[in-house]
Symmetry: C2
Subunit: 217 residues, 2 copies
DNA sequence: CGGGAACGAATTGTCGACACTTGGGGGCGA
DNA sequence: TCGCCCCCAAGTGTCGACAATTCGTTCCCG
């Protein structure tokens, strides 16, 4: 992105990641407009790759576009956040089921390792460590499920929740409970209980939804 | 798109629709490369909006991009096609359930009207009429389900099947059977049986998958 | 003192140009 | 004859520019 590395990787994916990061971290807030020129200068490139990246993110639901006004960080209503949880839960039922049927012994060990890491983070109430591990855990399930289109739509559901400041909804006390679910899910996979694994994972998401609802009241 | 209508609608959505059409109709075939310059000339515009539209379609899964080689129409393997059916079926279970719970009397009548139109097309073995009606029917279910993210991911699943020449898989005889499912689904919605509606819709998709499988053997 | 039109700055949507990369064909050596 | 390398055409990735549009502000009129 700096200067003279030519044509070995397109700018577009980099911009895409950068925008996702800015949104996830809160540098860009819901409803805010993307200033293409300013971002282009900041990243040391022209507006063309910026706009292409924005088009991508528009399709994933992170941005929206208004004619002649450019791209805006999408704002997500409470209803939409709950919509996402419902859909994620339903999709996870399938993902968990497929993953349980396809998971290998090595993968199971990797899941165990992740759970242990999360356990440590949960004990320390270290949300900053827990969060990415949690994302990794769920992404890995999708990967193991081995359904191309499942993997394709997952990022949209995952990243859109960033619009809602997900982190603030992870109450310190809930980390342990959340990881308890993970452990149970892995156990179900290990025992070959596909149906159960799917159900557990779905319920796990719905608990997250319930936590969200509780924080609003 | 012609000449001097300025800035009342962006070119990008138009290009997007045009590319989708070309793919659906078969003017662009799986694996084929999008020649940006040629398409730009053909549509009477520069390459910028073309590329932005391609980025969008890349995200939806209709195109893929290779560094320094541009955009290609995505090819879809048999496994991926079956993946889509599985995912569609699972998602439709939810969509049907939600739709049944939210549908209004007027909407039910609209569904009935659609079913009648499809019935006529089925009787006449007119796949060309049946197909868009069928797409409309399912899209409408998603709309009625009223889950924003459900509606967002649906087009990707819907359009990706175009890559597989869906039409050829609609065997003449299957139109009636397919519409029989539609009728049963609407009936379930009307009777307020949300669970049943979801199940019926899911099974309806799985029958499509089964038909696809049968055509290969 | 308030509302609205008109001006100007800021920003988007699109364009044409250019450097670089890729793929293919012809020529050269073996 | 076969294989390799070089060169060239085709085409992408990115850039800078420009017209059209939006937004904020000022100014005018009531």
């Amino acid at each position: 992105m700096s200067s003279t590395r030519h044509r070995t990787e397109s700018f577009v994916p980099a911009v895409q990641r950068e925008l996702e990061r800015m949104i996830a971290v809160g540098e860009l807030k819901g409803g805010e407009r993307i200033n293409e020129s300013a971002l282009a200068i900041k990243l040391g490139m022209s507006r063309a790759p910026i706009r292409e990246a924005c088009r991508s993110l528009e399709q994933t639901g992170l941005l929206r576009s208004e004619i002649n006004r450019g791209f805006f960080v999408r704002e997500i209503s409470m209803k939409e956040a709950l919509d996402i949880y419902d859909l994620r839960a339903h999709i996870c039922e399938m993902a968990g089921r497929l993953a349980a049927a396809a998971v290998t012994a090595e993968q199971l060990d990797e899941f165990d390792a992740l759970v242990e890491q999360m356990e440590a983070a949960a004990e320390a109430n270290d949300v900053g460590s827990y969060y990415p591990l949690n994302v990794d855990f769920h992404t890995r399930i999708i990967t193991v499920a081995d359904n191309h289109y499942l993997a394709q739509i997952w990022p949209a559901l995952e990243s859109s929740l960033h619009l809602f400041r997900t982190r603030s909804f992870i109450l310190p006390g809930s980390l342990r409970a959340s990881n308890y679910d993970h452990r149970a899910f892995v156990a179900a996979m290990r025992s070959g209980d596909a149906q159960g694994a799917g159900r557990l994972l779905s319920e796990h998401i719905l608990k997250g939804k319930a936590r969200l609802l509780r924080t609003v009241e």
